[in-house]
C-alpha cells in the first residue's frame, strides 16, 4: 500500500474543516430583516438558497451551490471589514501612519468586495447587499480598541477566504489563498505578532 494523504479522521481535522461563518458580529436588526426579505441572511452564514429564493434559478447550471455560498460568505466578511475600517480609521490619530495604513487596508477591502460581487454576478447569482450598519464585537472607543478591531476584521476575512480554498475551482482556490495571505499580512501589521495557522478555526491567537 502506498502512502496517502489523510483526508478524514485524526485529531486535527476539526480544525481545518470548511468554515463558512466569517463574522462574530452581524448587521443591525433592520438590515438583517431587509436581507432576509431579499432571500438571504447577510453578515454571517449564507442561508442555503432554493429555487424559491429566486437566486438559484438565474444561476447557470454549472455553478454548484457551495461555490456561491463560499463567495457570499467572503463577500459578507469584506462588507463587514469595509464598514469596520471606517470605525478604525476614525479612532486612530489624525494624520498618523496607522491611520494611513487603515486607509490603505480599507481600500483593499472595498476592492476585494467589488471583485467578489462581480464573481457572484458572473455566476448568475445575486450578491447579498451589505448592511447599513453592523454591531461591533465590542466597545471601540480608543485607538487600541480600533487596532484590535482591525485585527479581528482581518482574522474573519482570512477565515472566510479559506473556505474558497476548499473549492475545486483552481482560480477560486488561488484567489482564496492569496486573500488569506493578504489578510494575514494586514493582521500581522496590526497585531505586531504572528500566527502559525491564519484563517484556520482554533488558531490560538497571537504568538
Amino acid at each position: 500500500m502506498s502512502p496517502t494523504c489523510r483526508r478524514q479522521g485524526g485529531a486535527n481535522d476539526q480544525r481545518i474543516r470548511i468554515h463558512f461563518s466569517p463574522a462574530s458580529w452581524h448587521p443591525a436588526a433592520s438590515d438583517r430583516r431587509a436581507a432576509e426579505r431579499a432571500g438571504t441572511r447577510a453578515g454571517g452564514k449564507a442561508r442555503p438558497m432554493t429555487s424559491a429564493s429566486g437566486s438559484i434559478s438565474a444561476r447557470p447550471a454549472g455553478t454548484p451551490q457551495p461555490v456561491i455560498a463560499a463567495l457570499q460568505s467572503a463577500l459578507a466578511a469584506e462588507q463587514a471589514a469595509s464598514y469596520g475600517y471606517g470605525v478604525v480609521g476614525a479612532l486612530l490619530p489624525q494624520g498618523s501612519a496607522q491611520q494611513a495604513t487603515a486607509s490603505t487596508d480599507w481600500v483593499a477591502h472595498m476592492r476585494a468586495r467589488d471583485k467578489l460581487s462581480a464573481l457572484i454576478t458572473a455566476r448568475g447569482a445575486t450578491p447579498v447587499p451589505a448592511a447599513v450598519a453592523y454591531k461591533l464585537p465590542g466597545p471601540v472607543r480608543t485607538a487600541a480598541q480600533a487596532r484590535a478591531l482591525a485585527t479581528t476584521l482581518e482574522d474573519r476575512v482570512a477565515e472566510a477566504y479559506l473556505a474558497l480554498v476548499a473549492l475545486p475551482e483552481r482560480s477560486l482556490r488561488r484567489l482564496g489563498a492569496e486573500q488569506v495571505r493578504a489578510a494575514a499580512l494586514r493582521a500581522q501589521a496590526w497585531r505586531g505578532s504572528v500566527q502559525a495557522f491564519p484563517g484556520l478555526p482554533g488558531e490560538p491567537g497571537a504568538s
Binding site: 489563498a177 492569496e178 495571505r181 501589521a189
Partner: protein
Amino acid sequence: MADEGLGSGPATTGPARRALLIASVAALPALLAACRGVQSLGTPPPPPTDVDTLRNAIEHETALVASYAAVAAAGGSAAAGGQAGSPGAASGGRMAAALAVVLAEHRQHLTELRSRLIEPAGHGSASPAPTASSSVTLTTAQLEQAEQAASDRLIAQLAGLPPTLAQLFASIAASEATHVPYLQAARRGQ
C-alpha cells in the same frame, strides 16, 4: 378471489423478502466497512501528485526548520549582526526572540504537515529529522527570502489537493509570508 389474493400474498412475497434479507446480511460487512471509511476497504492509492506534493512540502518545511535551528545555534543576534546597517545588541536580543517565535511556528507547520501523510507500516519516514549540522547559517535577509519563496511555492501547489490539505497549505503559506515583515521589524529593532 379475495381469499386467493390474500392467500397468495405471503406465498409470493415470502421468498422475495428472504432473498432481500440475505442480500442485506451479505451486504452488511461492506456497509459497515463503508461506514468506517474508505481506508478499511483497502483503498486504491490516491493520485500520486497528492503524496508527492505533500512530501515536497514536508521536505521544504524540514529545511526551513533546519535553517532556523542553525541560526539559533549560531546565536540569533549573530544573524542580525550580519546585516548591513543592523542595530546593536538590543535589537540582537529582539531578533533572537523573533527567530525563536518563527522557528516554533515552523515546527508547528511541520508537525501538521507530517500528520497528513499516512505511511504504510515498515516504510521509512518521508523526510529526515531536521538537523542544523548540514545547514549553512543563513542571514536573516536570506531567511526572509526563503519564507517568501516557501509561501509562493505552497500557493502554487494548491491545484488538485484534497480540500482540507489545500486549506492547510494556504494557511501555512499565509503564516510564512507574515514572517517576512515580522523579521524585518525585528531587524529594524521595532
